[in-house]
Symmetry: C2
Subunit: 173 residues, 2 copies
């Protein structure tokens, strides 16, 4: 299956990855959250090549994660902002930062590069997974995954397909 | 900057992406959380080619996200499990699922493919970002990002580098 087809899986993780499952794309999203708006800033702070960067920005615009507007006419220059869909990627960036802090930074004996604080009271912010009924914080071990009928059938079909692959061409008569 | 160098940035998001900033890698991690253990299962449910899959599994093992153990000797067969480092990717998978549900699934008029519930009380589980001091749920607009000195210097150096790139070879005398 080519990567472009993962959007067709009956799985929201796969569908999300078809849009943002790429390191450079998420580096640009990080940068937008840090306040960068312009091509030049993305290039400076992500380290991506201009070619790579314009590709990613076009894709992000096409999928509605960023919107582009002109900030200068002669010569024409654009700036980029996160849409509402883009701002909803916040938990993803937070999850990457927390994981990176814990597992890819500890051996460096440094202060975590970025601390996220609550503007009002300066408290640190932490991601929690909370049960909407009992309000408990729930670790992955206590989570039950319930699949929809469509998801269960899709997985059954994937198993059947592996056992007896569809013929690509009809057999010769 | 090649992608392999983003681990050197003074940024935990970049460092995390250097390990898990890839769609197929995260599809394998999703599958591990759904209980798959074997190569054949990963292939069936992710749709990745065998070549791609062994590459990703090797990288995940090398970075300590999964561990491999033999479950059969003749012929030798391995199974894979998430390590503690791997299980800590849970918030990332949850963030992808929530975003995919909201932005890549709504137009499909279907039940979300997967619901995560609290095993004890069947309540739905939701990611929240909470201030550790005042316990308020904090949206990204109320977050203040505080960079460490090292992070600030790294960004200053990136700006200087863009203005006056380092010479790769010394000038001829």
């Amino acid at each position: 299956m080519p990567l472009s087809d993962i959007a067709d899986q009956t799985c929201s993780v796969a569908r999300a990855l078809s849009v943002v499952g790429d390191a450079w794309t998420l580096m640009v999203v990080r940068e937008l959250f840090l306040g960068s708006r312009r091509f030049d800033e993305f290039q400076t702070y992500t380290g991506a090549s201009p070619h790579l960067l314009s590709q990613r920005l076009r894709a992000l615009e096409a999928s509605g994660v960023v919107e582009r507007s002109a900030y200068q006419q002669r010569p024409l220059r654009h700036e980029y902002r996160l849409t509402e869909k883009g701002v909803s990627l916040w938990p993803l960036i937070v999850a990457l930062r927390e994981w990176g802090d814990r597992w890819e930074g500890a051996h460096r004996r440094e202060t975590p590069p970025v601390r996220m604080t609550h503007r009002d009271c300066q408290g640190s912010i932490r991601a929690r997974h909370v049960c909407e009924v009992c309000a408990a914080e729930v670790p992955p071990q206590e989570v039950k995954v319930v699949m929809s009928r469509a998801a269960v059938s899709a997985r059954r079909a994937a198993r059947a397909e592996r056992k007896a692959p569809r013929r690509v061409r009809p057999a010769k008569r």
